[in-house]
Amino acid sequence: MIVVKGEYTYPNGRTVKLEFEMNDREKVFLTGKTGSGKSTLLRVLNGLIPEVYGGKLRGTVSIYGSTGNNRDVFLITQYPEEQILCETVVEEVAFPLVQRGLEWKEAVEIAFNTLKKLELEEIAEKKTFELSDGQKQAVIVCEALACDCKCIAIDELAHLHPDLVKNVVSYLLKDKRAIVLSEHRKELSEGFDRIVKVAGGGIELRIRKNRSSGKEVGKPLVIAKNAVVYRGNRKIIDKLSFTLREGESLAVVGKNGAGKTSLLRAIAGFEKCEGIEINGKVGMAFQYPGYGLSSFRVADETQYIEGLTLSERHPHSLSGGEKRLVAVLKALKYKIVLLDEPSAGMDEELRYSLVKNVIEICREEKKAVIIATHDEKIPEMCDKVIEL
């Protein structure tokens, strides 16, 4: 049984109220607005708070009769890139097992079997740095499943393709252990015993718009004619054709590793490509939003934020979802806007309101936006869709 009742104060003074109960083997779907404290709660469960984060935790925390600990609760955090420690996939999956005292051969056997169950045996021998973010997240789910923990806590599966995420969730639901999945996509809550809504938080999105320009579609900004995109020397995309004009929006969808990010990177000039013509300056919001944030204040990063409470904060002190929001709005400064998974880590309301606003701004200011996404509704909001 898990019982958490109290409050936690971060070292920076921010206080989050915590109230959560969960029975053994129960499957709980955790929902709530961006910044409501879902991640904080999950970190309390596995002891990251206060063991690693410091701060003050007051009240009752009972995790299977003990305090928050990493033995009973395996936590999968938001950014898969940050959780990978080993060079190959099989080493990565076997890593926690070795730490729990298993012999290497036994750990590898369990790792292979778990990868097989999630149909990931093909990547077992691959190097972890060759994997897409979605594949990395799937590998970390395998690690959790391979362990003998009592509860698996997951802080969003935002990087997985919708088909794969459904497979992973249905597999998790069949597992005999307790599962807590924190997710913004309510459609994934099917099959869970309980939906728990964490109150509070939320970002009021007020975007400054310039309504002086017309709304008509203009000259072509991105032209791809039988385009070929490479990652290193490997051909990732072959014979892709599309034209994106001023004011238009394009959604790029496809499975993990299909080449969505590579296409955006090729348009930005970071990957080798043939047959792509660009007419305008490019701005890009990366999947890991921190790369593009170099100012000391959020207000210095983007002019599109209006009265947002975050304006005076350091961009790197923000939560994952907030940082992504700032990175997306920063990219809007340019004529061609490239957004790599802009909605990951945001609640539904914020996610669609942000994408809707971005598309409107691009239409009004004669910009073109390309959005690489796993979200099923975002392509419906765009003018064009490409499936890789």
Binding site: N46, G47, L48, E51, V52, N70, R71, F74, L75, I76, T77, Y79, E81, E82, Q83, I84, L85, C86, E87, T88, E91, A94, F95, P96, V98, Q99, R100, G101, W104, K105, A107, F129, E143, A268, F270, K281, V282, G283, M284, F286, Y288, G290, Y291, G292, L293, S294, S295, H314, P315, H316, K333, Y334
Partner: protein, 203 residues
């Protein structure tokens, strides 16, 4: 060629030592360079280090032309011999360090640092790309530095988080494999070269 970890460490040590002991002899430097390149033909990093080699060559010219050639050749061969270790899987490398007496938790931290090096290299490249999109000239480097400083701090926090989440108890994943014929051949050649360098030093 993927060299067995213990063989890689020993061969690398014998090859670099033979260059030192021979007194930067060009013959030994060229022999070490040839052996190392045949083991690890991946020389991309040497291209990246070419400005350093050029700087080293030009500053050595102040002493003498012959010395500059000898010293630069020696540096090149030492770098390539060191790169033999880069062919080894990082977990196997830490197992090998542990085999030679380095405590398990220290050995794992070395392999973790090697892996982090790749991640941070990637982070610098991504920060540079992002900065290039928004600015030009010297500001590209300034913005890269500003973004990377924050990213690197957050990376270290994330690494601590990841280790905690996975219940890190100081144990190294992976196992050592037995050295193959090619591994033993490399070790034998390295030892022979080292012995010759001692003879050169003595006589």
């Amino acid at each position: 060629m993927k060299v067995e970890a213990r063989t890689a460490i020993l061969s690398s040590l014998f090859l670099t030592s033979s260059v030192y002991v021979s007194g930067f002899s060009p013959v030994f430097s060229l022999a070490v360079f040839a052996i190392s390149i045949s083991v690890n033909p991946e020389v991309k990093i040497l291209k990246k280090l070419s400005p350093l080699l050029l700087y080293f060559f030009l500053s050595s010219l102040l002493l003498s032309g012959t010395y500059a050639i000898k010293a630069t050749l020696a540096l090149l061969s030492i770098l390539t011999a060191g790169l033999i270790v880069s062919t080894v899987n990082s977990a196997e490398f830490s197992k090998a360090l542990n085999y030679f007496g380095v405590p398990e938790s220290w050995a794992f931290q070395v392999s973790l640092a090697l892996r982090m090096f790749k991640i941070l290299e990637n982070d610098v490249a991504r920060c540079f790309e992002a900065s290039k999109l928004e600015s030009g000239g010297i500001r590209v480097y300034l913005n890269t530095l500003k973004a990377f400083s924050a990213v690197a701090v957050l990376r270290s926090v994330a690494l601590a988080e990841a280790l905690y989440c996975k219940g890190y108890a100081g144990k190294i994943p992976g196992e050592l494999r037995k050295p193959g014929k090619k591994d033993l051949a490399l070790l034998t050649i390295s030892i022979i070269l080292f012995i010759f360098s001692i003879f050169k030093f003595l006589f």
